[in-house]
Symmetry: C2
Subunit: 457 residues, 2 copies
């Protein structure tokens, strides 16, 4: 056995610092804006997040130490394996070498615990006792519940009602880890009660759930509750960079100085950023690396949206963020990759695209599920619907390498497994899956409503 399938790192080789892309952007990051279009100050965020995370959010420091206590928990599954996709390469007949970073090995099954553990730990350090958050399909709520169990924090998750009813298993994961999961809108918050009064039968939405989670945090009279977000924000991107930093060490172990192509799927941006930002650092410093964000064709934030200031949520509770956005009232088509159904994009990822440090591809879900099936039958692991977007993009690049006869190194992020999301595969296999057109007129009318908003530089 001369070939090596999995490239492992010892725990002692796990990175000791996270990488912050902010100081390496080609133009400075636009600040988030509050009421009246004025930049948000750290103090204004203090009721929502603990100050130690706010400091990370606005930090200009390139390298930030990972506390040893966090490292001691991350080793429950990290460093994650880097895997050579020999069986997939063979099926494609490509000369490309395909590697994937397997983030599905975490207890919650995705990359989400990388930041959930860190956020829970910083909150605990700051004296916080309870965290609130929202969740759609449940990946993030499960990851934060896991983190709360390990760190010793209560976690309350507002889960969009339609998912709460349709996806009982993710709710059970949260409860198994001791998290409290309630359907949103709920009667526990004023925001929830207002909605229920008007629309008693509403299926809920991520926007409403965010409103409830923030309200539940800031109205706790003891001041010991804070809110936690699983993507979009700078400190979330930061915590995920351990993925790419590990991948660089692992590629070096097999003599690869740099990959030719780096790919991640993009919803809010966190798993993409986690893998890609450390390679963008190399790119800024002269390396020739193609970096691709793969997004759903039906939610084309990176490929079709303008770079503007917009709210992160439907209810306009968040500050205005500088990002590519389809408009915060955009309701994405019901594709199975629930984690990619987001109207905006992390400001750091948006800045990287604007600066030309990355490119984007929009892919229909049928091509993604086809890629997911081929991956399952070759590499064995059944990917999450979100992850299939990265796989489909990697397959496109591998086929291109075949046409060009080039032995490229392609690296992608295997962000999560699909064991809790098999219904999408069933629909694809039984011919019940639809692709959704790019909703040009709907996006235009949503963007129309943002006229008068300030514009980023």
């Amino acid at each position: 056995m001369t070939r090596l399938k999995k490239i492992l790192l010892d725990e002692s080789e796990m990175p000791r610092q996270w990488y912050n892309l902010t100081p390496d952007l080609l133009s400075p990051l636009n600040p988030p804006l509050g009421p009246g279009g004025k930049p948000i100050t750290p103090e204004m965020l203090a009721p929502v997040f603990p100050m130690n995370l706010i400091e990370q959010e606005v930090s200009q420091q390139r390298w930030i130490d990972i506390p040893e206590e966090i490292r001691n928990i991350l080793v429950q599954w990290r460093p994650s394996p880097l895997i050579r996709a020999y069986e997939l390469e063979e099926a494609l007949g490509t000369p490309a070498k395909i590697y994937y970073k397997n983030e599905s090995v975490s207890p919650a099954g995705s990359h989400k615990p990388n930041t959930a553990i860190a956020q829970a730990w910083y909150n605990k350090q700051f004296g916080i006792k309870r965290l609130t958050t929202e969740t759609g399909a449940g990946q993030w709520g499960a990851a934060l519940s896991y983190a709360g169990a390990l760190i010793g924090l209560e976690v309350k998750v507002f889960m969009v009602r339609v998912s709460f009813d349709q996806k009982p298993f993710r709710k059970l994961m949260m409860q198994t880890w001791g998290g409290t999961c309630i359907a949103s809108p709920s009667t526990e918050t004023q925001a929830g009660r207002n909605i229920l009064e008007k629309y008693p039968d509403t299926p809920g939405s991520l926007g409403i759930a965010i409103s409830e989670a923030i309200e539940a945090a800031v109205t706790d009279p003891t001041g010991q509750t804070r809110y936690s977000l699983g993507s979009v924000l700078n400190h979330v991107m930061l915590h995920q960079t351990i993925i790419g930093l590990e991948a660089k060490k692992q590629l070096a172990k097999v003599g690869i100085k740099k990959p030719d192509v780096v790919i991640g799927c993009c919803g809010g941006g966190s798993n993409f950023a986690g893998l890609a930002f450390p390679f963008i650092y190399d790119k800024v410093n002269g390396a020739d690396i193609q970096i691709i964000g793969a997004e759903p064709f039906s939610c084309p934030t990176l490929t079709k949206a303008p770079f503007i200031y917009d709210h992160g949520d439907v209810a306009e509770m968040t500050p205005l963020l500088p990002m590519y956005s389809l408009g915060h009232n955009f309701i994405p088509a019901p594709i199975h990759a629930g984690g990619l159904r987001y109207h905006g994009m992390a400001p750091l990822v948006s800045a990287a695209l604007k600066d030309g440090l990355m490119e984007a591809q929009a892919i229909h879900q049928s091509e993604c599920f086809e890629a997911g099936l081929l991956f399952s039958k070759t590499e064995g692991i059944i990917p999450a619907p979100e992850t299939t977007h990265a796989i489909a993009s990697a397959i496109r690049e591998a086929r291109k390498a075949k046409e060009e006869g080039k032995e490229k190194v392609i690296l992608f992020n295997f962000s999560g497994h699909g064991l809790m999301d098999l219904v999408g595969y069933d629909k694809y296999m039984t011919g019940q899956l639809s692709d959704y057109e790019y909703p040009e007129s709907e996006i235009a009318s949503n963007l129309e409503k943002l006229k008068g908003y300030p514009l980023p530089r």
Copy 2:
């Protein structure tokens, strides 16, 4: 960070041979018996299994080479990590060092692919094109479908109807890997049609599904179909011993010459055997190791059943096997650990118990789910209901070590994750879970029916 959470092996350190316990038993294994009470010959098994696996089934050789082609697939997830349960130890306040072998990292989520890959490969080598099997909750059907996809064999799974209807996700896993999964009883076999005629609304049973799978294999006119079994048989135990062989190397890496206690949960016996047999080898050669099989209180094969000859299935299709058995008509109570609901026990495990090389513990499912919850909240991974039996036993031993003030090394097999089995946790957490009494009179009346069967030595 001085402490080491996960002990890894390089792929080059993965064992190159399986260990066969047969030659090391204190008394020779009783042969399986066919019609008229005569020992089964290899030729009689030829329509059911390929000859290369039959050779393994009857082999007296202690070490059997693992073909390189099988090793090249096993590395998709092997060597599996050996994990030190620091967080669990801390919660228990025990001086014991607890280690677990994490078999949940396989694509199918359990130890089952260790033998599924091997069986599929040997069948393919023998020129077989199709495999049939039965499955209850679906773990084994999923593992064999995964193996079929990788090796290039068609797989047809007869799934007990009640599970087929209640557990659609395991069925979808099989289909995602290209397996065909049909509800049993089906109209595809004579056995199925006979049952359906008499009982059109039957929920099915593992016994019926075995009958259908064997019939579908042996009646294929092309002769290119064989049957595959996921536990009980000697060659299945053999393929699983890679677990314990890896664990020994891993313990040696942290300076542990031998564990004091080795624990696995017992249904048909395969995950227990996989971890324990290599340590039984040491025990036979003088090492002082306590080896414990943990079984459900409601299905007390090892703790309450006699050592007899009995059929492996309800329909009496299989040869008579020398084993501890509650009687092949015994229908275990509907506990959530579906994989442990078996009336018999692998002949090799049975022989080890009879020879005094191991002991057994019977545990109620409420104690097991309590252990599973504690494990989830400390070590992070949510265990399968089957696996919680091994965890509950390990916790008992760790508490005993605390009382005795002894720094014991406890090793158990984490046979699978529980992401597809969360309903049991829900019932436990909401107080809807029942424990089941040991059904003494029912077992006695089932055993009564076996009067006149030959008796093993």
